[in-house]
């Protein structure tokens, strides 16, 4: 056992950080290849009589999308209410509470809906993906796929990626509607304006670009969550303990990636 002084710990962790960055950059190429390969199988698989199975995609879409609707609805509704209460409270100090609708419309559609959905899907489905792949890796099921002549990317990754790419923006759209509705309920009650007035105001301030900004981001989140789940699942070592480790790591890394990406988006789009 090496002596565990503070100095050596520092050097260790610095070195580990450096190695992590190098690995990260190296695996970036790998990840890009993974996306390209998944898309490749989707379009060219049928021609080589190795299609991506629709049943697998449908099943993943249920898992990732449909089953997540209740919790997405709950969270986005709560966030809508929270934004409305806080917005009216803050703006009323300047006598500007009538501006709350515009504020909420922008922050929900451009930021909160995609962020909340992304974090939720990372916790629900990114972890599930990492757990499933790492268990299969440890159980030699991935090897068994390979020697059966079945490409694991086509069989496992492509369905998950496609389901995510479709369902995460769809969930984000639902989150938009529900957050705005919940906010509208509170605003029309508190400021005594009609629902119709609230909605026409909301639609007036929002552009298609705003909606696309949010949905576009959620698409990128979908890809990030899948890739991080796959990369962690594939890198598992050790038994059941390893599965727990990579699952946790997948969720943490996904959420970090989502928030950092979101921040970059804000930075670029407000330049």
């Amino acid at each position: 056992m090496p002596p565990n002084t503070l100095g050596s710990t520092l050097v260790d962790s610095t070195e580990r950080l450096g190695r992590g960055v190098v690995d990260g950059v190296a695996s970036f190429g790998h990840w890009t290849a993974l996306v390209v390969e998944s898309v490749y199988w989707l379009f060219f698989g049928p021609r080589m009589r190795q299609p991506v199975r629709l049943a697998a995609i449908a099943q993943q879409m249920m898992e990732v999308g449909i089953f997540a609707v209740p919790i997405v609805a709950l969270l986005s509704g709560t966030i809508g209410l929270m934004l409305a209460m806080q917005g009216i409270h803050t703006l009323s100090q300047f006598g500007a509470e009538s501006q709350v609708t515009a504020g909420i419309a922008f922050s929900v559609v451009r930021e909160f809906a995609s962020l909340i959905t992304g974090i939720l899907v990372a916790g629900r489905s990114g972890s599930a993906l990492a757990a499933r792949l790492s268990t299969m890796q440890i159980n030699q099921e991935i090897d068994a796929l390979k020697v059966t002549g079945i490409n694991p990317v086509r069989f496992l990754v492509a369905p998950a990626l496609i389901a995510m790419i479709i369902m995460v923006p769809a969930l984000t759209f639902i989150a938009n509607l529900i957050a705005l509705s919940a906010a509208g309920l509170f605003i029309s009650y508190d400021l005594d304006i009609s629902q119709a007035a609230y909605w026409s105001q909301t639609i007036n301030v929002l552009s298609v670009g705003d909606l696309m900004h949010g949905l576009g981001k959620s698409l990128i989140f979908a890809v990030l969550i899948t890739l991080i789940g796959v990369a962690n699942g594939a890198s598992v070592t050790g038994g059941a303990e390893g599965v727990g480790r990579v699952t946790t790591r997948a969720v943490v890394q996904s959420i970090i990636a989502i928030i950092v990406t979101d921040m970059l988006f804000v930075f670029v789009s407000t330049l």
Binding site: M136, Q140, E141, D143, V147, T148
Partner: protein, 288 residues
């Protein structure tokens, strides 16, 4: 024949070159990290023979098997399976080659999200255009062969260890492969089932002309089914030969493996104790 790099006991070239080789490994060297695991292996399997790979724990048997299946990239050397160099095959070529191979992993490696029947049908579903009913019938036939008829609707998690192994065997032979790879097929099975499995392996060779590579620790089983035996030792091939040639070998290492003599039994007890305790214990007790 090429020159073996580690020629310890070049026996058994007696029935050479009557039948073409289905597996041809030349000078295979592999590393895990900095550690050299396989140190220049030459390995041949002929059409229609049962080749047993034996050797102590950690000698590299599974590693060799993983390389034959292209699950690992070698440092150097060549591996030809059915005339194709698998180290240079692309994905499609590899997929096509693997349709002619069957593999049963040591752990079984059944897909836990599929039922036993679906597991066994999967290669058919992926590689053929048979209708589902035909596939089901074929799967049932193979399950019958491994004595698992009626279990197709269970999940792998509902099977015992021995049943998983037999189901994995059924999946391995569903496409009637040209070469069958079995990693410890009878380890952990009860003697009756293990013996039935031996008979099955022999039947697959005789009736279907399959070439079969078996990694095993079970000596009785090995001697019963082997056409030839390869003995691995610390990443080298110690010997290749028929059952009689291996049994009668005067190489001490081979006799140790055959008679399960461990190195610990050979060293003197004091030295053994010292190794276990890192030296301290022995010195303390020996001191007056």
């Amino acid at each position: 024949m090429t020159v073996p790099t580690e020629p310890i006991e070049p026996i058994s070239n007696t029935v050479e070159s009557e039948t073409p080789g289905v597996i041809q490994v030349r000078d295979l060297v592999t590393h895990y990290g900095d550690r050299m695991i396989l140190k220049g292996i030459d390995f041949d399997v002929r059409q229609g023979e049962i080749m047993i790979i034996m050797g102590g724990s950690g000698s590299g048997k599974s590693t060799l098997m993983r390389h034959l299946l292209a699950l690992e990239q070698p440092t150097s050397g060549s591996i030809e399976i059915l005339g194709e160099d698998i180290t240079t095959l692309d994905t499609v070529g590899r997929a096509n080659l693997f349709k002619k191979l069957g593999v049963a992993f040591q752990s079984g490696a059944l897909f836990s999200s599929l039922s036993v029947g679906e597991n066994i049908m999967l290669p058919l579903a992926e590689h053929t255009k048979l209708d589902p009913e035909t596939m089901r019938i074929m799967a049932r036939i193979k399950l019958e062969i491994v004595d698992l008829a009626g279990f197709e609707d269970l999940r792998p998690s509902e099977l015992s260890g021995g049943m998983i192994k037999r189901a994995a065997m059924a999946r391995a032979i569903i496409m009637d492969p040209r070469i069958l790879f079995l990693d410890e097929p009878s380890a952990g099975l009860d003697p009756v089932v293990a013996s039935a499995l031996d008979d099955l392996i022999l039947k697959l060779r005789d009736a279907m002309g399959m070439s079969i590579v078996v990694v095993t620790h079970e000596l009785d089983s090995a001697f019963k089914i082997a056409d030839r035996i390869t003995v691995l030792d610390q990443g080298h091939i110690l010997s290749v030969g028929t059952v009689d040639e291996i049994k009668n070998s005067d190489n001490e290492r081979i006799q140790n493996i055959l008679h399960r003599r461990t190195e610990q039994e050979i060293v003197d007890p004091e030295e053994y104790l010292r190794r276990l305790t890192g030296g301290e214990f022995v010195e303390e007790t020996v001191a007056p």
